[in-house]
């Protein structure tokens, strides 16, 4: 069940990525539609983060190519934004919340230029969208996990890009932040942006995403959520991992009898 789309925003062709000559992603052929909220799902070590990093050329690939908006990556840098994993930076760094959000404007500014009022306004607006405007002068070391994630999201929003890659934005955040983030992502999708999210919670996946990519070193499936999140495809993705399989069972039961209303 690998559905290829016409006029994709992201086109991945025969992508293979290796660490130490050991392939972690094998021959990925993938196209993603515009204006979708896409979940990249798979077990630990399936290469989910590796896939989005390779799409942005943060990791060297051993073969294959990636085109975004039908162009090589180098020509569309300022239409792409990235929300890295929260743990990837040092939160004791001497910077304020506003300093970090303003970084989202650096790519557009170019060398020599200092951020202007328009950039500062855009950063402040992005902070408002994530409900953190009153924290602008706060030291980043004083934030909770959920607040850190919102700051990272605000930095990406300040960039006003067309496609967003997010690495586990829901990992270790409180439920209020998770709800706020998913609402924001839906709003972005409704504005025609494409949002690609690495996610590991199967239960919320069916609720959150319009399009799901199932990954386990190889591409197992890619398509609309309801066609992809089937028992057969999930078993193929998580194959052999029994505890996870029982989770899959739970998930399927919940699909039949939704425990909570869709947001």
């Amino acid at each position: 069940m690998i559905l290829q789309v016409e006029n994709p925003v992201v086109e991945v062709h025969d992508l293979t990525v290796s660490y130490d000559r050991k392939p972690v992603l094998w021959g990925i052929d993938l196209t993603l539609p515009a204006g979708a909220l896409v979940g990249v799902i798979g077990p630990n070590g399936a290469g989910k983060s590796t896939l989005i990093k390779a799409m942005m050329d943060l990791l060297a690939s051993s073969s294959g190519y990636v085109r975004i908006f039908d162009q090589p990556l180098k020509q569309v840098y300022n239409r792409i934004s990235y929300v890295p994993q929260r743990e990837s930076v040092d939160w004791d760094f001497p910077a304020s919340v506003f300093d970090v959000v303003l970084m989202g404007r650096y790519g557009k500014l170019g060398l020599f230029k200092r951020p202007r009022k328009a950039d500062k306004d855009a950063a402040m607006e992005a902070l408002e969208k994530v409900g953190m405007q009153s924290y602008a002068d706060r030291q980043i070391s004083q934030l909770s996990g959920g607040q850190q994630q919102r700051v990272f999201l605000a930095r990406a929003l300040a960039q006003n890009a067309d496609i967003y890659f997010m690495d586990e934005p829901f990992a270790g955040v409180d439920i209020a932040t998770e709800t706020a983030i998913i609402q924001l992502l839906r709003q972005m999708r409704d504005e025609g942006k494409t949002v690609i999210v690495v996610h590991h919670d199967l239960q919320s996946a069916s609720e959150y995403f319009d399009w799901v990519v199932l990954l386990n070193m190889r591409l197992v499936a890619s398509g609309p959520t309801e066609k992809v999140l089937t028992q057969e495809l999930l078993e193929q993705t998580y194959g052999g991992k029994l505890t996870l399989l029982s989770n899959v069972g739970d998930l399927l039961r919940k699909q039949e009898f939704p425990a909570r209303e869709k947001l």
Partner: protein, 292 residues
Amino acid sequence: MNAFWIILTGSLVATCCSLLGCYLILRRMAMVGDAISHAVLPGIVIAFLLTGSRDSVPMLIGAGLLGVLTTFLIEFFHRYARVQADAAIGVTFTWLFAIGIILISVFAGQVDLDQECVLYGEIAYVPLDLWITSGGLSMGPRTVWTLSVVTLLIAFFIIIGYKELFLTTFDPAFAAAIGISTSLWYYLLMTAVSLTTVASFESVGAILVVAFLVAPPATAYLLTDNFKAMLVISVIVGILSSIVGYYLAVWMDGSIAGAIATVTGIAFTLAFLFSPTRGILLRQKRVQGVSH
């Protein structure tokens, strides 16, 4: 007048090193600065052998090349040979420094250099090496001129590349994703460290360079949560250490470089104890204040 020149020399070295050191410690690369400050030795010796003079420009070029080679080798061993970063640093700089020492000993007759001078420097001799113009006018110590140019270059580099250096230091993955080359800024930073090291080595020596690269930035890190303030405070700490260290050395009749390095250590200890935000004695209060 001698006191003035010595303190000025110390302050210029302190300024360059403290500024660059802020980036190094936040990148967890303080010891790369240590490595570069030693590994430039063969570059200096080869430049000297090729040109036969202690002219600054060829030495700056020789040391700059060696500095970049050092960072490249460290990266290479770490990334491709999968050796731990600190092991890669240790192997690279001891090896390059040793080559420098062999070159000095083999060409001892032709090289007016010794490893003692490279390690410890002799800041007290700064006022003796004057730049005299062809008209016989004394322009002051040569080292002060070289260091002033290097300080201006470093300040210029940090002003121009402020955004890029800040972002690639804080979050290299995001920087790369929006099209800012992390390796370009990394190598530019390391070239700047190499230039600073070689411009300082004759006067203050590698050990004081390392002290200035690490101690004032670490002190400033304890005193502020704002990166621009950290740059400024670390320069102030570096300059104050030069002044206090000089008079300490005069009072004790001891080594000036040694006294300055000691004072940087004392400044760090004071910040560690009494910093309002991170000092161990006063921090307690703040934690209570926040958690009311």
